[in-house]
Amino acid sequence: MSLLHFQVLSAALFSVGLYGVLARRNAVLILFSIELMLNAVNVNLVAFGAFLDPGRIMGQVLAIFVIIVAAAEVGLALAIILRVYRNRGTVNVDEIDLMKW
């Protein structure tokens, strides 16, 4: 089990998330895809911190912050999504088109 294992995993997770952001139309699912990308970030941070950083701590600290903010982001984004859903009855981003993208 080496650093490269984690890096490749993180790269794969990031790419899957990126694909999701670009391919999905449902706002909730776009949000989830972004969370996958953030997880890829965390895998990177923790792995780099563990394998490379002599202090070993900074990677984890960074990851904690990312987790906290990401969780808050899910909550806030969902509140907005719900509001849109109530006003418009849809959460598909390409049907939300009062203004062109």
Partner: protein, 163 residues
């Protein structure tokens, strides 16, 4: 293959498999569950990296938040409507872009092979004291971020007004 490596592959498979499920599922509820699974598997990976505290944070906060999201979604909307999922016509483009990014990242990682050190536990105390001294300022700012998210979520999602 060492046992840890076997565990790594298992967790990696779960992480990626459920991630793919998240981005391809036709049902939002399944997607939430897959995301949850993926998050938990990543927490397992953190344990492999001897970052147990972080694994705990990941499960409690992150996965917790996602569960709340799930409940939220189920409670406030009718499932069958929320679950009506279709994808963009631009899926092939998305696939190409994501594939290219993956290729670039892996190519870059293969050419980056620094000397690594032994994995070692990081005490929760060390992490905590670091968090509250050296990183006190971002920590406080992060609490404001949470406050803003909370206020915002309430103001925006709260029923009422001219509905």
């Amino acid at each position: 293959m060492s046992p840890t490596l076997a565990v790594f592959y298992l967790l990696a498979a779960i992480t990626l498999g459920s991630a793919v499920a998240v981005v391809s599922s036709r049902n939002v509820v399944y997607a939430v569950l897959a995301l949850l699974l993926s998050l938990v598997a990543v927490a397992g990976l953190f344990i492999l990296l001897l970052a147990e505290f972080l694994a705990l944070v990941q499960v409690l906060i992150y996965a917790g938040a996602i569960i709340i999201v799930l409940l939220f979604a189920l409670m406030l909307t009718r499932v069958e409507e929320f679950a009506r999922v279709r994808d963009n016509p631009q899926r092939p483009i998305a696939l190409v872009v994501a594939g290219a990014v993956l290729g670039i990242l892996i190519a870059a990682f293969l050419r980056f092979s620094p000397a690594t050190q032994e994995l070692k536990h990081v005490g929760v105390t060390a992490l905590g004291s670091e968090l509250f001294t050296r990183w006190a300022i971002p920590f406080e700012v992060a609490s404001l971020v949470l406050l803003v998210a909370l206020i915002g979520a309430i103001v925006i999602a709260r029923a009422g007004g001219r509905e």
